[in-house]
Amino acid sequence: MKTVFKRTPTLKDCPTHYCPGCGHGIAHRLVAEIIDELGIRSRTIGIAPVGCAVLAYDYLDVDMIEVPHGRPPAVATGMKRTNPDKIIFSYQGDGDLAAIGTAEIIHAAHRGEQITVIFINNAVFGMTGGQMAPTTVLGQVTATTPKGRNRTGEGYPLQISELLAALPGAIYLERCSLHNPAQISKTKKAIKHAFELQIEGAEGLALVEVLSPCPTYWRMTPVKAMEWIEKEMTKVFPLGRLKDVAGE
């Protein structure tokens, strides 16, 4: 019999703690596959966020650190500046990157740090019980927007990738999604490109935003969550390449 699919070595052989239908597990697999395809496992250092993916080091078999909430881009700066030959990536949620860590990501991009950022946008704070994130869409009911997010007082969803696109130090920005197999394979291509740029020594920060389901706090079935990304989330967060300095 022919093997058509197998676990990539950098993805550990263990069950994850993620809820059924969660996007984090898919994103982890993509990162692990890319690390193995690029042959960079022995020189990669990963940064786990504070969020549902805090235990990413239990699943990804590379050197990893867990850092204060929102600070991965600063930690990555300290690592990359002192270890220019290493491949440094941060994996961050939308609370981590777009709320508490906004200053750190903007300034890391602003300085043009040569790091790879995987930004998981699931429109809520998953880990703390599904509260509003800056990325929560208007009308979305969360633990802290019981009547749905209202632009008055709670603001519009924050489009961090568009914001970062204005910075010359951000050289590659693409928004992808995990809502169907075709999009997952696009996401993989984008994350791979973001790693390749760092391997080539491209002068700037590469970030891939990934629209990712949180069925638990969207209070949907996994299938409905995938549909909601396609129908609702992509209206606010349009998919596609926002910037690719190398490819332009």
């Binding site: 990893m64 930690v75 990555a76 300290g78 200053a103 750190e104 300034h107």
Partner: protein
């Protein structure tokens, strides 16, 4: 060289790989010096967007096994407390310099010693300690840096150098020491890429029944070991003294001539200067308290170290405070006057 520059050059000689910092008075000479010298040495200098970012850059560099430091003054050190707590939890070495200024709040830019509690009690959340060194001269600003890096690496924890605006700004001739000091353990825990070994993980999260409790017992054992082995303190004319003045840092410099003058005036005075504020020279002070009737603590604050002196004295002698908060600097005459007030009535 001013104290800030002496400290910076000594850090470079001690093998500093990376400096990260955000400007604040009265320590701006440190980032300015580093921005010139670190690139000359082929090492890393980054002006961060905040102290929060600076301490996390230190966190990242240190996790890869590099010697990293940051410097700031009081308001900036407050912003770093999150990072200091994580460094303690993750057991990463780091050197943090606080050239203290007046507080609370934005306070002023005058020299101060009001961050003693923050430095010696941990400062951030959780049960942890930071080794705290208190230099009292420009020479010591330089000398404490190799020691700070060695202690940080040996014990895998943060070492705070607690200076103040006067020490940072004043100029004195110094000799820079180039010899290597301690034999240090290999950093086999560092994140260097998993080549021919299992992955390394640097973390401060400990889930599961007693995991965090056990981690804390391990930290506690380390702290107790440090309390046994790393106390530094200087004393003068303590044996026959009826009054002992306890002061650290620049305040100790001012105390010395005051005590000399008191001796000249026939008062049996002496002084004790803690060099490590944590671990505190509890035993030395306790021993002195067996003979002494009066301890006078002189601090540029409303009295913080005085609590540690009281704990050490444990009721065996009177402990009094002469404190000048908010950037006030005590004079030799003020201290002498206080010594006289406390001792002369007893003679009458």
């Amino acid at each position: 060289m001013c104290g800030n520059e002496a400290l910076a050059e000594a850090a470079i000689i001690a093998g500093l790989d990376a400096y990260f910092g955000y400007p604040i008075t009265p320590q701006n000479e440190i980032p300015a010096y580093m921005s010139r010298r670190m690139p000359e040495e082929g090492r890393v200098f980054v002006q961060s967007e905040s102290e929060l970012a600076a301490i996390n850059m230190v966190f990242g560099a240190s996790a890869t096994g590099k010697r990293a430091m940051t410097s700031s003054s009081s308001p900036g050190i407050s912003l770093m407390q999150e990072g200091l707590s994580y460094l303690a939890g993750a057991e990463l070495p780091a050197v943090v310099v606080n050239v203290m200024r007046g507080g609370p709040g934005l306070g002023n830019i005058a020299p101060s010693q009001a961050d003693y509690f923050q430095a010696t009690r941990g400062g951030g959340h959780g049960d942890y300690r930071t080794i705290t060194l208190a230099p009292a001269s420009v020479q010591e600003m330089a000398d404490c840096m190799p020691l700070a890096f060695d202690l940080a690496d040996q014990y895998r924890m943060t070492v705070i150098v607690l200076a103040d605006g006067i020490l940072g700004q004043m100029m004195e001739p110094i000799v820079l020491d180039k010899k290597k000091r301690r034999k240090l353990p290999a950093k086999d825990w560092a994140l260097t890429g998993a080549t021919g070994r299992e992955q390394n993980i640097v973390r401060s999260l400990w889930l599961g029944e007693t995991a965090l409790e056990n981690h804390n017992y391990k930290l506690q054992a380390k702290y107790e070991n440090i309390q046994k082995n790393e106390v530094l303190c200087e004393q003068y004319e303590v044996d026959d003294a009826e009054i002992v003045v306890v002061a650290y840092g620049i305040a100790a410099r001012i105390v010395r001539p005051a005590v000399n003058k008191a001796r000249q005036a026939g008062i049996k005075a002496g002084w004790i200067r803690p060099i490590t504020l944590w671990p505190f020279p509890t035993e030395q002070i306790s021993r002195a308290a067996d003979q002494m009737r009066i301890f006078l603590t002189v601090e540029m604050s409303n009295g913080q170290m005085v609590e540690d002196v009281k704990l050490a004295v444990a009721g065996k002698a009177a402990v009094l405070l002469y404190g000048r908060p908010g950037g006030g600097v005590p004079t030799v005459d003020e201290i002498l006057e206080r010594i006289k007030q406390l001792t002369l009535p007893a003679k009458r």
